[in-house]
């Protein structure tokens, strides 16, 4: 049984060490600055529906800053609610995503000079009466990203806040009447109205009188980067670059205070649902092929190895080994996958194990699959009659040879149907991977949905993709089962 331990140790090592090797140094010597942004917050940060590139007001601003400051940029896309955690964990160096200045953030982060002046607005379903000011929100429900400044405003006004993933989802809840209102940036609201051509929601009024100021956010201890950013912003303001970027998106200069009403009508043209799906279908399919499916296959293969190791440890007769295996299985089955993903990606860096997105995703999913499949493998091995082990021993086979040539092929028959279920679940579980910053099929759908400001047709498309792959897997399962059953008398 020492073999089992050795194999386990090797596998963990392979998982941890191999992917941790850096992908090669950058050829130029500009410092790399990693930018955290949602990629789903038009017109500030979103994916262009034509070429799928990350673009938007904030993206163009940070690119101009980088040019000025001599940085090389790497963009990291994440939900807003994970964005400060990513900054704290050192996974990104700056947030360029309309971070609104407030005292709490001033205390915790290094905030740059202001590059957007805007104001919060209250958005309601068209025709709603009685909500025009913050005071009217008392006792009402609003939809917000929980860690935004607007969520804070709503809570302070006495509203109940429903957490959502972004503007499009909040707007849908308002349209459907599930919440009474949302508070967001007037520019984001105007972009929504313009992009969707929707008249089912409307801006009811200002969320307070204050003009809010949006800034780049750095870690507090990163004073040097902050200084470079501020110098760059000053220079860009002086030479008119910021004004030019702003006018492209808003027709006015929002980078200085009080310049009038923004006009977004020249922005992205409204598209029909069919056009939206058509534009997104190929990028989504690509992500299915280059992210969702490979991650599923790799994680399943590694998970199976873990499962076999855990199953053998469990039935080894050694108390220590079987205790370890049972603890592992119990922990994996007893905690949500989302928690496991967060621990691997945001928790392990605390103890010095800083895995990039893909290895972290694969590690977490493999551990998850291993925990679930271990029990399947164990009962499959135990379903092989003891006489088969003895017959193998009698002809001189050792432990591993008996397992490989005699036991596993027979255990497979029992194991394949439940393992197929595990595989199918795994495929769908990859849709959670955006929390560890992997852009897979579902994240791609989210990107497209936010750019279009509507998500139903795109999520439906994603659903169809998942379903087709699952149906193919189920068909493959049927064929394998037939193969494995052909030596058994019926």
């Amino acid at each position: 049984m020492r073999h089992v331990l050795r194999v386990l140790a090797l596998m963990l090592l392979a998982l941890v060490v191999v992917p941790a090797v850096p992908a090669g140094a950058t050829p130029d010597d500009r410092p790399v600055v990693r930018v955290g942004t949602e990629g789903t917050y038009p017109p500030f940060s979103f994916h262009d529906s034509d070429n799928n590139d990350l673009t938007g007001f904030d993206i163009e601003v940070i690119k101009a800053v980088a040019e000025e400051a001599g940085w090389k940029l790497e963009f990291v896309e994440t939900t807003f609610d994970a964005i400060f955690a990513a900054l704290d964990a050192g996974r990104i160096d700056v947030i360029a995503n309309q971070v609104t200045d407030n005292p709490e953030r001033q205390a915790r982060y290094g905030l740059s000079d202001t590059y957007t002046y805007s104001r919060g607005v209250i958005v309601v379903k068209a025709g709603t009466t009685g909500i025009t000011t913050l005071a009217d929100l008392k006792g009402k429900t609003t939809a917000q990203s929980l860690t935004t400044n607007y969520a804070k405003l709503a809570t302070e006004a006495g509203a109940k806040v429903e957490g959502v993933e972004g503007f499009a989802q909040a707007a849908a809840l308002v349209v459907q009447g599930r919440v009474d209102a949302l508070i967001n940036d007037n520019l984001a609201a105007l972009d929504y109205l313009n992009t969707t051509g929707s008249d089912s929601i409307e801006i009811a009024g200002n969320a307070g009188d204050e003009v809010s100021e949006q800034k780049l956010a750095f870690r507090k201890d990163d004073a040097a980067l902050l200084k470079q950013a501020n110098d760059a912003l000053a220079a860009l303001k002086a030479d008119g670059t910021l004004a030019k970027i702003s006018e492209k998106y808003f027709k006015i200069d929002v980078t200085v205070a009080n310049t009038g009403e923004a006009d977004l009508s020249g922005g992205r043209a409204p598209r029909s649902d069919a056009e939206i799906v058509q534009d997104a279908a190929w990028p989504m399919f690509k992500k299915l092929l280059i992210a969702t499916i490979p991650i599923t296959i790799i994680s399943f293969a590694l998970g199976l190895v873990l499962a076999v190791a855990a199953a053998l440890a469990n039935i080894s007769g050694s108390r220590i080994l079987s205790g370890l295996a049972r603890a592992y299985i119990s922990i994996i089955r007893g905690t949500p996958l989302l928690v496991q993903l967060f621990i691997v990606f945001y928790g392990l860096p605390e103890i010095g194990i800083d895995l990039p997105s893909w290895p972290a995703a694969i590690l977490a999913l493999s551990l998850n699959v291993g925990g679930y499949a271990a029990e399947i493998v164990r009962s499959a091995i135990l379903s092989v009659p003891k006489g088969q082990f003895e017959a193998a021993s009698t002809i001189g086979m050792g432990y591993w040879q008996s397992l490989r040539r005699i036991v596993f092929p027979q255990a497979a028959r029992t194991a394949v149907p439940p393992l197929s279920n595990t595989l199918i679940s795994l495929l769908k579980d990859t849709s959670l991977l955006s929390v560890v910053l992997v852009t897979e099929l579902f994240r791609e759908a989210q990107n497209a949905a936010s750019a279009a400001q509507t998500f139903f047709p795109l999520y439906l498309t994603a659903g169809v993709y998942y379903w087709v792959v699952c149906a193919l897997l189920a068909a493959g399962q049927g064929r394998i089962e037939t193969r494995l059953n052909r030596f058994v008398a019926r």
Binding site: P385, G387, Q388, E390, A391, S393, T394, I395, G396, M397, G398, Q401, R405, I406, P409, Q410, F487, V488, A489
Partner: protein
């Protein structure tokens, strides 16, 4: 080290307990090369445990087993690690085992079952192993079944494949544990006749069986076991034809006059 007149199989003072069940109480016996030894005795007397000990599927608590050149003293055997596994696998390789319920590998063809040990364990060239296997299958009357799977065979045919699988490893001794007990009566004959042929071809065999008439015909030596001891031993004419112990007589009487 062993001279040519020494017995091929030498079993001395074998003790075995399962929990507090003392199953083998000092088993001693020898078998010369080319002879057939038959073990008879009531259920639970320890016959299977003796065979399994010879093949080291059970590890005796103490005692010495020698087959050919390989001798293992179980009293001094470590319980774990390479020093325990190595002598066990050398002794195990000296004998081939035919189980009561054959335990053929269901996912392999008849031919694959027979060559599995020679190719995978003994690392013999595949073509050579296949040629030998076909000859063995011919010998047990199953040449035309080589490419079928076990589930396609009758019980008697399956048992004959089991015999071919054991012979393929060219063991010094072939062990049979009630090879016909699980068979329908009309299939018993074909298996017994294969075993009988082995005896005439010079194979050394140790057979546990309840087929007393068969034992009479093939046995060079019969051991009657009861309660984990060899109660009586001798030629079949002595032990079966003219037993000297009461317990042997009673056993034979019961088994030859059922009901």
């Amino acid at each position: 080290m062993t001279d040519s007149t020494a017995p091929l199989v030498d079993v001395r003072r074998i003790e075995k307990t399962f929990g507090d069940n003392h199953v083998l109480r000092g088993i001693d016996f020898q078998a010369d090369a080319g002879t057939t030894t038959v073990l008879i005795g009531p259920s639970g007397s320890g016959k299977t445990t003796i065979l399994r000990s010879l093949n080291v599927l059970e590890t005796p608590d103490s005692g010495v087993i020698r087959i050919g050149e390989v001798e293992v003293d179980f009293a001094g055997l470590p319980t774990k690690g390479k020093d325990a596994r190595e002598p066990v696998s050398r002794l195990r390789a000296q004998s081939g085992m035919v189980f009561q319920s054959h335990h053929l590998f269901p996912h392999k063809t008849v031919l694959e079952n027979v060559i599995e040990g020679p190719v995978q364990v003994q690392k013999r060239p595949r073509e050579e192993a296949v040629a030998d296997a076909r000859q063995l299958l011919d010998q047990v009357g199953l040449a035309e079944k080589a490419d079928q799977h076990p589930f396609q065979l009758s019980g008697g045919q399956q048992q004959r494949v089991g015999i071919a699988r054991a012979l393929a490893l060219k063991p010094k001794v072939v062990l049979f544990d009630e090879p016909t007990s699980a068979l329908d009566p009309e299939l018993v004959g074909e298996v017994l006749s294969v075993i009988k042929d082995l005896a005439t071809e010079g194979w050394t065999t140790v057979i546990v069986t309840h087929e007393i008439r068969f034992a009479e015909q093939v046995a060079d030596q019969v051991l009657f076991l009861d309660g984990g001891v060899v109660v009586e031993r001798g030629t079949s004419a002595q032990v079966i034809g003219d037993p000297s112990e009461d317990r042997t007589r009673q056993f034979l009487h019961r088994i030859l006059n059922p009901g």
